[in-house]
């Protein structure tokens, strides 16, 4: 099920410099994920990982509308959120490789990256598991009387989890500044959401009186403009919002899911026409805000930074044995 997109809000124009920054962030996520896949296929990375490729416009569109002291919670498919909120490539790769220099000293890995300095309260291996945490951060903001906001990223798979509904109910009751961002990438693991989600997605939130809308998650301009409106509204005490961002998981559920028997190559090809990076590139070129060389230079710079980060992570040391029982308790 793909929710019908609501009409675009009035676009909030960023200047060219900021669009190029957003472009760089999206390229960074794409390159990070392609590299993570390479690390997996060449057996240089322990475990598996879930790639965000195809969904970059959402994380970047939302996070470019946030301040550093705003909070996010993320998912098992979370690298994009972490990077978009400001995480460094070095420490991200180091965490994926289980190194002590990683964001979590190698204790979290791909699915649990947390970075307090950029307001990232942690990616979560439990689908929908962070709905309460993001809402609690909203409660904390309200009690402390600041004008921060809290963004809860989750996939359409989380629509099956009751915690989400308990949380949205309370967020609306108490007008908490929480933005629930449903990245509707069509599949919960290997199952299309037409088999798992009855009725309306936005209706789930609007039933609580939460401001809810479905938008095109492939177009960063739409995502960003919508995000700014609901985030500013939440900052001013207007309460929570729920965005269904229609998107597509370009790769499998995880790096090892390469056959994807649960969907057709034709469906994938249709969505590939709406690659969020290409859409932004085309617009930047067409609106004459950037020339092709500028975009290529950004891609090259990101590639170099990613290569350097991988080298850093591969050279970094594994945690010592004494690390294993540290941090069980504060």
């Amino acid at each position: 099920m793909s929710e019908k997109n609501d009409s675009n809000p009035n676009e909030t124009e960023l200047d060219t410099e900021h669009w190029l920054q957003a472009y760089e962030q999206m390229v960074k996520i794409r390159t990070f994920e392609e590299t993570a896949n390479d690390l997996y296929t060449s057996a240089r990375m322990p475990g598996i990982t879930h790639l965000y490729i195809g969904e970059e416009a959402i994380a970047v569109g939302i996070c470019e509308a946030l301040r550093q002291d705003d909070y996010i919670t993320s998912t098992h498919r979370g690298h994009g959120h972490c990077l978009a909120k400001g995480a460094d490539l070095d420490r991200m790769f180091a965490e994926l490789l289980g190194k002590e220099a990683g964001y979590c000293r190698g204790k979290g890995g791909s699915m649990h990256i947390a970075d307090q300095e950029t307001g990232n309260l942690g990616a979560n291996g439990i689908v929908g598991g962070s709905a309460g945490i993001a809402t609690g951060a909203g409660m904390s903001i309200k009690l402390r009387g600041t004008d921060q906001v809290s963004v809860c990223f989750f996939g359409d798979g989380a629509l099956g989890q009751g915690l989400l509904y308990e949380s949205m109910n309370m967020a609306q009751l108490w007008k908490l500044p929480v933005i629930y961002v449903c990245e509707n990438n069509q599949y919960g693991e290997y199952t299309h959401n037409s088999k798992t989600a009855a009725g309306s997605m936005v209706g789930r939130a609007s039933g609580f009186g939460v401001h809810a809308q479905a938008i095109d998650g492939q177009d960063i301009r739409t995502v960003h403009a919508t995000a700014r409106l609901v985030i500013e509204r939440a900052r001013k005490g207007g309460g929570p919002a729920f965005l269904v961002c229609n998107t597509y998981r370009f790769r499998g559920h995880h790096v090892g899911d390469i056959d994807r028997p649960y969907r057709t190559r034709e469906e994938e090809a249709e969505w590939a026409k709406r690659d969020p990076l290409t859409l932004l590139e085309d617009w930047l070129l067409k609106s004459e805000q950037a020339e092709k060389q500028v975009l290529e230079r950004i891609q090259q710079e990101v590639k170099t930074a990613v290569d350097d980060a991988v080298a850093f992570a591969e050279e970094a040391s594994f945690p010592s044995e004494s690390e294993v029982d540290r941090h069980v308790y504060a």
Partner: protein, 345 residues
């Protein structure tokens, strides 16, 4: 607080004369009120905690004292409020999440076990979850199988959580205050049957460390290790045993995680016998863990196998005629202790 010869600290006698006597429920309330006054980041959230003052009336008056922003009536959404607790704790608050009955903690399992308990570790020590989850345990209220369980063993199993189960008003207040100040998630189990129990609680401020057992009665022949309301069952049994010439020492671990193994082992070495008494289901429970700790630590000093008494391995039945059979009583303890001391256990 006095100090025994072996260095173990001992709280005031359960019915010490002369001191201010308040109920267990009042002690909990006092602890929470004092900590809320001391630290503006402390707040209470739960079902019926504000206007009703909780179903057991333990929190009556908090709403008037601290207002609805800090004493928050929630929907009946246990997982949701636990999640709110975790998120608020990570971002600088010190929430007290109130789960009305211990049986309902099954609804917050993910938030406690996968989120609260693991956040500090998974983040490499960067995030902390200074949250208290208070709930109940204990049968005998004729409330049947979904309002009578003692599920503290489930949480004691989980690294990253701390678990306290006070038996006296003095312990309840001291442990609650410490739990609120602790930077880790702490689950406090209060026996519903103890709320009206009175005991000495000093006027002046004090806290009690988590992970320090308390000797409730000294003895020479057998060590009874008892938790929560089973402390009273154990003390009643100790009186009966004294009348037949058996001197029982009674130790309350007060927290099951961390567990004060040293004090338990030391006492077992001294008396050479240990009997563990707890209201959780006997199978895979707190009694099994403590018995194992003592067997490991005091084996060569023991004159009898470590014995344990827990709730019967059945869902708690409604009918009084059956419910009482499922809960350990003093006679069970006396019979077991006698057999152990007679050498025919």
């Amino acid at each position: 607080m006095s100090t025994l010869e072996n260095g173990t600290r001992c709280s005031p006698a359960i019915h010490a004369p002369g001191e201010r006597q308040i109920t267990f429920g009042q002690a909990i309330r006092e602890a929470i009120a004092e900590e809320m006054a001391r630290d503006e980041n402390v707040f209470v959230i739960g079902e019926d905690v504000a206007e009703a003052g909780s179903v057991f009336k333990v929190l009556v008056g908090l709403l008037d004292e601290f207002g609805p922003e800090r004493v928050i009536d929630s929907p009946i959404s246990e997982a949701g409020i636990a999640g709110i607790g975790v998120g608020a704790a990570i971002t600088g608050m010190r929430p007290i999440v109130d789960i009305m009955f211990g049986d309902f903690t099954t609804l917050v399992m993910d938030q406690l076990v996968n989120q609260a308990a693991k956040t500090h570790y998974m983040s490499g020590g960067k995030l902390t979850v200074p949250m208290v989850l208070r709930t109940t345990l204990g049968a005998s209220r004729r409330s049947a199988a979904q309002h009578s369980q003692s599920l503290h063993a489930l949480f004691s199993h989980i690294p990253g959580l701390k678990v306290a189960l006070p038996a006296t008003p003095y312990d309840a207040k001291g442990l609650m205050k410490t739990a609120i100040r602790d930077d880790n998630p702490v689950v406090i189990f209060e026996d519903k049957m103890l709320y009206q129990e009175k005991g000495p609680v000093p006027e002046e401020e004090y806290t009690l460390p988590l992970g320090q057992a308390d000797v409730k009665r000294t003895g020479e022949d057998i060590t009874i290790i008892a938790t929560s309301s089973m402390v009273y069952v154990g003390l009643e049994a100790a009186d009966k045993l004294a009348s037949i010439g058996i001197s029982a020492e009674l130790i309350d671990p007060r927290t099951t995680n961390p567990l004060d193994s040293d004090t338990l082992i030391q006492s077992a070495k001294k008396t050479s016998r240990a009997l563990v008494l707890d209201e959780g289901y006997r199978q895979y429970g707190v009694t099994g863990e403590i018995a194992s700790v003592i067997a490991d630590g005091a084996f060569y000093y023991l004159d009898a196998p470590v014995k344990r008494i827990g709730a019967m391995n059945v869902p708690v039945p409604f009918s009084p005629a059956m419910e009482d059979l499922t809960i350990p009583d003093a006679d069970d303890v006396v019979e077991t202790a006698k057999a152990m001391c007679a050498g025919d256990s």
